[in-house]
């Protein structure tokens, strides 16, 4: 098994189960003993998941990836101590961000539903041409990737959350914007799109939105 096997859902499950931090360990970049170089896949998944964390209001520093060899025992100890220290500073998951336990679970469940979609997006749209740490950093921290991720994942994430809320009970735009911490105009935009797609309908009687 290669670090490239680390699925987005592995990370998600850990956070969903209340872990405060996730550290992914991989071999040193460009030192693959095979031709897999899957640690670059792990690296791009890390950048992706950090973006998802930002979009869900989680501190992205709760996720870290480090590359080292079997002889780097000292480095591993150093990295883990540093990471634990960092996580302690940030505090328990949710609490550090001011999200309640239920809200956190709700957001992460919404992300879980999106994982198949994110995998497709990653494949089709997010490809870094050069396999180097700098190139990956540059790409994922660049404006273009940011815009793409906001557009492709950010919107979907909000939608996924709205749908999850409406699955419980019909709500007004105001209710939704309050529950998700979004501006009413933002919520309206999403609701309009979803209505057009026939996913949501307006319940005239109750003056609120419900699943179609």
């Amino acid at each position: 098994m290669c670090s490239g096997r680390v699925d987005l859902e592995f990370i998600l499950r850990a956070f969903l189960k209340g872990q405060d931090g996730v550290l992914i360990g991989g071999c040193k970049l460009n030192e693959c003993n095979y031709v897999t170089h899957g640690n670059f896949d792990a690296l791009s998944n890390t950048y992706l998941f950090k973006k998802i964390m930002e979009l869900t209001g989680l501190n992205p520093e709760r996720l870290r990836i480090e590359f080292m060899s079997g002889a780097d025992g000292n480095l591993l100890a150093e990295v883990i101590n540093d990471f634990v220290k960092k996580i302690k500073e940030i505090g328990p998951i949710g609490k550090g961000e001011g999200i309640d336990g239920k809200g956190l679970k709700f957001k992460l469940e919404a992300v879980k539903k999106l994982i198949p979609y994110i995998k497709l997006v990653e494949r089709e749209r997010l490809r870094v041409p050069v396999k180097s740490e700098e190139a990956y950093h540059h790409y994922f921290k660049g404006d273009e990737a940011d815009r793409l991720l906001d557009e492709l994942i950010g919107d979907k994430l909000v939608m996924s959350q709205i749908m999850s809320l409406l699955r419980e009970k019909p709500l007004s735009t105001g209710n939704i914007s309050e529950l998700l911490g979004l501006s009413p105009s933002e919520v309206s935009r999403h609701i309009n799109i979803s209505s057009r797609h026939g996913l949501i309908r307006y319940d005239e009687g109750r003056k609120c939105y419900a699943l179609a």
Partner: protein
């Protein structure tokens, strides 16, 4: 050593280890308690080790030994180790042991010894504290080194901020005590050390004093550029000498000269001597014992045309004892020595093999999981930190755990037997071993399960040593809790483990060799001599390849005579089928089972074979510069060699001749060194000098790369008044046709960097070191065999150091100049190396695929192809099924990395043994339910 080839009797004298290898588990408790501090030989005696210790952390076997500094051995005073060793492995009664073994063949792979600069005071080594050898520095850089990976000065234990490397220490010198040859590896290892130094501390200033930079290895030119471009790194072409040590700072003063500033003295905080390679310490004894001949430098002398064969039949040599070599050459000559032993002893292949019989496997897949947990004390390694009994008690509370117990050493033979017996007695169907890293012992524990009639994939390990007790030695309680967590996670995963079958596929015993040059023919012969049929496919009308145009080597080998012998042997061998004028039109199949379609002399042939060797050679660059093709006095080195061999009067009687090196490579288009041209130039120059000593010969070069023993010929040429003039790549020589004193000449103008002025040389002939370039058919062959190319478009091996004759595509091998330019002897080494690897495949009846490979649940597959793009082994293909196009994994090709698994949007592709289900449960068991509930409650409370 007595006897004769095929039946040697070798007597070995084994120095006592004072430790019983069968009992020592490598736990190193004895090391902890040993009171004797002794300079650590593995760490160049920079730091200390104990009298009892493991030589180094990757030693095989990973067991301790006691050296002569031991107090008990000296004065019978201390035996603490004996009382702390819980397996009773310490045995002071051991004495020197004589072991006699019977062998058919012997391989000498004794390696080299680094040059010891203590032979001369001028190097300051052993006199000035901050002068170290490159070997010392290598250890300083290593994380298992004397200061745990920190580079420190011996005098102050501080990081040096300014380091000098002095190249060619002990090499390329004819003064007594030094070696006349070039060690061949130092330029590149220094570049590596510089890169690593900058990784350690980006502020460190590095200066490298060098002669020629010899980056003749594959991808080494790029590597040199990478080192050279680092900020604060300066490569200075100058001889350098160590002048003095400054008493207060212990800094070292180095004197050197540059063309701009003249002679300079500069202070460094550390000086690294890039020491060369000497023959093994006891080479004379070695030669005498085995009755083999050495060359004048003390290295083993290969036979006329086979660098692996010694002067005595049945004794072979591999690695650096052949002469200074880099890792890839050592690896392929080792594999080549294996192939030659195989040829030599083929008549009794397999006679000593034994097969192991396991009890039949029980089908327990329908049973509920019944998990047994075994927690290892590892002597005191785990139990001195982790409370082992409490983890056993805890394990018994976990779901599906029906049995748990502790063991002193789970890996000891009796403990492994206990696991087997208990698994049968208690009806266990899953076993969790909480002990050390699965990296070392998982195969052993899988075996114990097989002995109990269980599928080996029902074994799971929790690493509570490296991941727990060893790192948390001061936090015993927390470590115990962590051990429980790890066991709980492993148990959670074990519940979902599935029995997996390893997949056997029959191997076709024939080989296909593509290319009938020296590489292809040598490889084909070696394979055929080991009993396999070989199809040798050549695109030309006759065999021989590029070697047909080479007449001698620099060492004086008659290439044409050798080639004739080789061709004759190939044609005479009934197992080799030669296909001339052949074109490969299609290749299908995979390791062990290839089908290749060849169009040969107008007929279409289908060849079935188990292994493929690519030996298609290389081409020569056709220069467009220096009037080549426009003036018939301008030729390539290859053409010059042919003219000399043919005895063309005009050339051998010429008054003057100029050679220009690096034509068509070491430039932007081809950023690599062709490796062979410097020696070719020297060879041709010496040949001409032999015929007409007064001929005026100039060689215009950038770096003379006559590495290894070829350095001696470079020196000889220089002594015979061949003039070497270095030019800079941005100020290349100019060539024009001119008339001087009524005689038509070629005028070559070059800037002499030493004299600092332009020099015009009038020559009768000009010879160009035209680059060795990838063969025109490279890309076609690469796509047929699904193998990849390096940036310079030579074939790309599976691993540049560790697998230099294999491709990442299983069952396809590589040798000769198709891999990278190389000399004939190197090609022969590599051709045998490829044959050795082919034989490891073909000598087996089946190829075995691991059980832990990927599999597609076809119902879930949406044929998006994400897995196919992700797979770097070409193991996944689309197939047409009644339900449409689906991905399918070829388990023989799958390496089990699982990258595809993480890409599949529908989770249709599954890496067996590491399935989502198994890993999800393991991850989710990281926190106990109570812990999580408590945490969530706390969060909710604070939010309210």
């Amino acid at each position: 050593m007595e006897g004769e080839a095929g039946n040697y009797k070798v007597t070995l004298v084994k120095t006592p280890r004072y430790i019983r290898e069968d009992k020592c588990t490598g736990c190193t408790t004895c090391v902890k308690y040993c009171p004797v501090q002794y300079p650590d030989k593995f760490n160049q005696e920079i730091s200390e080790n104990k009298a009892v210790h493991v030589y180094f952390s990757q030693a095989i076997p990973l067991v301790a030994y006691i050296d002569e500094s031991c107090l008990y051995l000296k004065e019978k005073k201390c035996d603490i180790c004996r009382s702390v060793c819980q397996t009773g492995a310490i045995d002071f009664k051991q004495v020197k042991e004589k072991i006699e073994i019977n062998v058919g063949a012997i391989i000498l792979s004794s390696g080299i010894k680094p040059f010891d600069p203590r032979v001369k005071d001028e190097y300051g080594y052993g006199i000035m504290q901050n002068v170290v050898t490159s070997m010392d520095y290598e250890r300083l850089l290593s994380s298992t080194g004397p200061y745990g990976g920190e580079v420190l000065r011996a005098s102050s234990r501080k990081h040096p901020k300014k380091i000098a490397w002095i190249q060619c220490v002990g090499s390329r010198r004819v003064t007594p005590g030094d070696n006349s040859y070039c060690s061949g590896v130092c330029c590149t290892y220094t570049q590596k050390q510089v890169i690593l130094t900058k990784d350690h501390d980006a502020e460190t200033e590095c200066k490298i004093f060098h002669n020629d930079i010899r980056s003749h290895g594959k991808d080494f030119e790029r590597y040199y550029q990478r080192a050279e471009k680092l900020p604060g790194v300066e490569f200075i072409r100058s001889y350098a000498s160590i002048v003095r040590e400054i008493p207060e700072s212990r800094n070292v003063v180095v004197r050197y000269a540059t063309t701009d500033d003249g002679v300079k003295e500069e202070e460094f905080e550390m000086v690294v001597l890039s020491v060369g390679l000497n023959p093994p310490a006891d080479y004379r004894v070695l030669a005498e014992k085995f009755g083999i001949e050495l060359n004048s430098h003390g290295f083993c002398k290969g036979t006329h045309c086979n660098p692996i064969e010694t002067s005595r039949p049945g004794i072979f040599v591999s690695g650096a004892f052949q002469g200074p070599t880099d890792i890839p050459e050592s690896v392929f000559s080792a594999s080549g020595a294996g192939a030659q032993c195989g040829e030599f002893l083929d008549y009794r292949r397999g006679k000593l093999a034994k097969q192991r019989i396991y009890p039949p496997e029980k089908d327990v897949s329908k049973e509920d999981p019944k998990i047994g947990v075994f927690v290892c004390h590892c002597g005191a390694n785990i139990s001195s930190v982790v409370n082992v009994p409490s983890t056993v008690e805890y394990a018994l509370t976990l779901p599906n755990v029906v049995y748990a117990q502790q063991q002193l050493f789970s890996c000891a033979t009796n403990s492994a037997k206990e696991i087997t017996d208990l698994a049968m007695a208690k009806g266990l169907n899953r076993v969790v071993i909480a002990a050390c890293s699965p990296r070392t012992l998982e195969p052993l524990f899988r075996d114990t399960l097989r002995e109990a009639g269980l599928n080996q994939y029902y074994c799971e390990m929790a690493n509570i040593r490296e991941h727990c007790s060893w790192v948390h030695s001061k936090q015993k309680e927390e470590a115990t809790e962590k051990a429980k967590d790890l066991i709980r996670m492993s148990v959670a995963r074990a519940r979902f483990l599935a029995p997996l079958q390893e997949f056997d596929l029959p191997v076709n015993k024939n080989a296909l060799v593509v290319g009938g040059g020296i590489a292809g023919m040598t490889c084909a012969l070696s394979i055929a001599n080991q009993g396999h049929e070989v199809y040798l496919v050549e695109k030309d009308k006759d065999l021989g390849g590029m070697a047909r145009r080479i007449h001698t080597t620099i060492e004086g080998m008659d290439v044409q005579a050798y080639l004739n012998d080789l061709r004759r042997s190939v044609y005479k061998n009934p197992l080799i089928h030669v296909e001339h004028e052949a074109i490969i039109s299609d290749v299908s199949g995979y390791v062990g089972n290839f089908i290749t379609t060849v169009i040969t002399e107008g007929r279409v042939k289908e060849i079935k074979h188990g292994a493929s060797v690519i030996a298609i050679g290389a081409d020569v660059y056709k220069p467009t510069e220096y009037l080549y093709g426009k003036d018939d006095r301008v030729m390539t080195h290859l053409e010059l060699g042919e003219k000399i061999a043919e005895g063309e009067e005009k050339v051998i009687n010429a008054g003057s001749l100029v050679m220009i090196q690096c034509v068509g490579c070491r430039n932007e288009d081809r950023n690599y060194c062709s490796r062979v041209c410097c020696s070719h130039a020297v060879k041709n120059a010496l040949k001409l000098k032999e015929k007409k000593p007064e001929m005026d010969i100039h060689i215009l070069f950038r770096d003379m790369r006559t590495y290894g023993f070829k350095e001696d010929y470079y020196r000889e040429a220089s002594e015979k008044d061949v003039k070497f003039i270095r030019y800079e790549p941005d100020d290349k020589p100019l060539v024009e046709a001119a008339v001087e004193e009524g005689k038509s000449v070629l005028r070559i103008t070059v800037a002499d960097t030493i004299l600092g002025q332009k020099l015009a040389i009038d020559a009768d002939f000009l010879s160009l070191a035209a680059a060795v370039i990838p063969s025109a058919s490279t890309r076609g062959i690469a796509s047929l065999f699904k193998v990849t190319l390096s940036p310079d478009a030579f074939f790309k091996e599976a691993h540049v150091k560790l697998k230099p004759v294999e491709f990442a595509t299983d069952g396809v091998y590589l040798c000769g100049t198709a891999h990278y330019p190389k000399h004939i002897t190197e090609t022969i080494n590599q051709a045998y190396g490829a044959a050795g690897r082919v034989l490891t495949l073909l000598s087996k009846d089946t190829v075995v695929a691991s059980g832990s490979v990927c599999e597609v649940t076809e119902n879930d597959c949406v044929s998006c192809g994400a897995c196919i793009t992700a797979c770097t082994y070409g193991a996944i293909e689309f197939i047409e099924t009644p339900k449409g196009r689906k991905a399918r994994v070829n388990p023989i090709l799958c390496k089990g990395d699982g990258v595809c698994n993480a890409k599949c949007p529908t989770n249709a592709i599954v890496l067996k043994h590491y399935t989502d289900e198994e890993i999800f449960h393991q991850i989710e068991a990281a926190g106990t339910d109570e812990e999580i509930l408590k945490q969530i409650d706390a969060v909710i409370e604070t939010c309210l």
